[in-house]
Symmetry: D2
């Protein structure tokens, strides 16, 4: 069965800035959507901040297996109540893939419990980023060599204020000598979360084959497992229930 992927995109920079539009004429989400859409096992839809309910209607939330999230300057405009609903879905198994400046989105900070702060620089000339695989054999880096390079990117530097991850999959170095944990995984409830660093709006990262491969792999990794519902919070029957049930079954 196909994985239902929703690409949530802020989609404001492209409308406001000529130099962003020059790189992503129809928006970053469209580039990613087209790349992922070639995989017949993925059913991709696009949604943006300016859509009804900020692209987070119940209809969308209830029909998504994995969310991709790119936002930057307008995190605060996403309604808290919608974020709460998304958070519930994640705890029940929906996957979340947070891209680049999405680190400061409400939903990511909710899931982490931390500030998600970091250092940054859009250099002149831009930094060159080298992403090193620190977890070979992980499904998210399948088909990736021991490293890959993005010729131009924004720098993100440590300390990145997130909880210790379950797995550190990619670590970047930048021209300036900074480093960053660029691919990390966590679980929250039944949901899987992947943070993937690159993807500044003025660079061609989303067209990069290695970048696209990592995102595609991450979708498969983050997709909910059938039968993964979290038990409801509930009072529990009186002591003795186990043996009563065993006795009943033995009759």
């Amino acid at each position: 069965m196909a994985i239902r992927v929703t690409i949530w995109h802020e989609f404001r920079h492209e409308k406001k800035h000529e130099h962003v539009r020059a790189v992503y004429p129809n928006g970053m989400h469209t580039v990613l959507g087209e790349a992922l859409g070639k995989d017949p096992n993925l059913r991709v839809r696009l949604t943006t901040l300016d859509d009804p309910q900020h692209g987070l209607s119940d209809e969308i939330l209830d029909n998504t297996d994995v969310f991709l999230w790119w936002g930057h300057g307008h995190h605060g405009e996403v309604e808290d109540e919608r974020v709460t609903e998304l958070q519930k879905r994640i705890c029940n198994g929906v996957g979340l893939i947070v891209l680049h400046s999405g680190h400061h989105s409400k939903i990511f900070k909710r899931m982490m419990g931390t500030t998600a702060n970091l250092k940054w620089r859009v250099g002149t000339p831009p930094d060159r980023e080298v992403l090193w695989v620190t977890k070979p054999g992980h499904p998210i880096t399948a088909g990736i060599d021991d490293h890959f390079v993005l010729a131009q990117e924004e720098m993100y530097g440590e300390y990145f204020d997130v909880p210790e991850p379950m797995e550190t999959i990619l670590i970047s170095s930048f021209t300036g000598g900074e480093v960053f944990r660029s691919g990390m995984t966590w679980t929250r409830g039944a949901g899987k979360i992947f943070y993937f660093r690159p993807g500044h709006e003025t660079f061609r990262t989303l067209y990069d084959a290695n970048y696209q491969r990592v995102v595609q792999n991450a979708i498969y990794w983050a997709a909910p497992v059938a039968g993964g519902k979290v038990p409801a919070a509930a009072p529990h029957s009186k002591a003795g229930w186990i043996d009563e049930r065993l006795a009943a079954a033995a009759k």
Copy 2:
């Protein structure tokens, strides 16, 4: 230097219910405060939901190294804004020890990102709880045998909806056959968090020597490390800064 410990206590059950007051005439926090107060390295103060700003004034937040938190029926009354301030302190190094029904407090759910739901039962007769040490050599279980028993307690059962911990230190079984991860650690930013399961308001758990020892140990474990401030989120100087600085130093 002494560790500044603040015991935050909801302190409503004792006022409302005779059978709780019978066990804790001056409140649960007072029993814990007296026990911890015998340690000259701890400077203990008590604060409650009915204190100004719900016991979370800036003065208190700025003069606490480790918070203990017991709440139950009135989590919702703690103001969001105060919780946000406490969260900031934790990310900057303040320790948090969450006790029993505090699992549903706003601050704990904030730090976890999950529902913190679980199963529960106050049985008749009450369950007997056995707490097994699953991490010998950890500072929090120093002086504890390979297990200890609480003759009467509320049952909490898995699944407990919290992120995979850094360390699982204690696991309980109950008369009914349920199990629970009763002692777990996490870090968030520079702050350390410990969840400790036992301590229902109608049982004498807080008088128990093993219980008190675990809490005391946890305070030392959770206390901030000197010089542990998290770097500010900030743009970073242009590439080349490292070598310029090295060159300057070499002159």
Copy 3:
């Protein structure tokens, strides 16, 4: 493509003890092999301690994606050199599922670095084991309710001396009040490891549908990811290689 599963079994108790043979007339491995063999995506073979090279010939090692391992009284008879070869395969991506008393096998202790010691009891009457799911949504517990019960089992009790796991998936309680982390995962290099507690040779556990489902799920989870080879240890080319390569590509 089918997953190549090798069930390594000590297969001595069944030959020596009538009361074991009564439960597993053709060996425990045969029961498991038949159950797993119904899945057309698994290609199952059986191998035992008394086979050539202790069932660990290069031919077997090089044609196995996931090993299952049950041993008990004769761990010491497996040659160190064969264990070393198996360890290499695991670090390069082969999965390892260790069953019950396999906790004291050479290969498991090699991968853990610890003693893998624990408490145990074959009670009269035997303990009843309740296995609670502590990680809903994990592929290994897909299709399993929030718990399942084995009416008769050997007790294993904490402390279980293994490294803190990546994930704790199942925790057991026993009639006697002991607890045990019965399902845990680790990774070592590109390889995934799952320990699964139940399966004493005198009880009918291996016929249990929940037991079989967990093992089957674990095989899918532990199977190597295509393209997951660990980079060779090697000296690395001189500084400047990245930019030289980028410049060459830009021409």
Copy 4:
């Protein structure tokens, strides 16, 4: 009470190579020993590969709280039986701090279960290493700024084949653009393990104040906790023991 620190050093390069002796005339261990010896809470002794029993006599093993380990070209000469004894001590609480090329020592590979392979380069000119703190507030980086620089070092590059750590504390970048997880922690049984990357024998790293501070901090972190003994592997008394004991205590 003072922490008993044993610095285990291979001490062969200094004897054989003039250019190493030029940097460390009395051996690398002596430089480290003198620096640490200034701390009155540390009782430091030095031991080397050419000492009786390779510096790992029972007398030494039984009187050490924390081992530091630097080796490089002669790992194979350390007797397996002594390594086994050291491993037992670590599982029972002794701390282990592995320095630089000690990553390929028998004891480190034993504790990890993996190859501990990595990439490396002694460049001409040497790489400049920047070590970034990725865990502010951790006791091991107390007193360290958000990064520190070593002007000349050997490069170590990922993938570093070790199990996912409990905590990643430091990540390095090198002139060549490589990265490395340079400070990582694990626990094994009651023992704590810290790997610290820098310290090639031809550079002045061991004289560096930040380097020395990290090592000193790590010793305090790795020191055994009083009362941290691992329970013996043992059969466990019959079911019912808990309630019998409670009943006896209640009389």
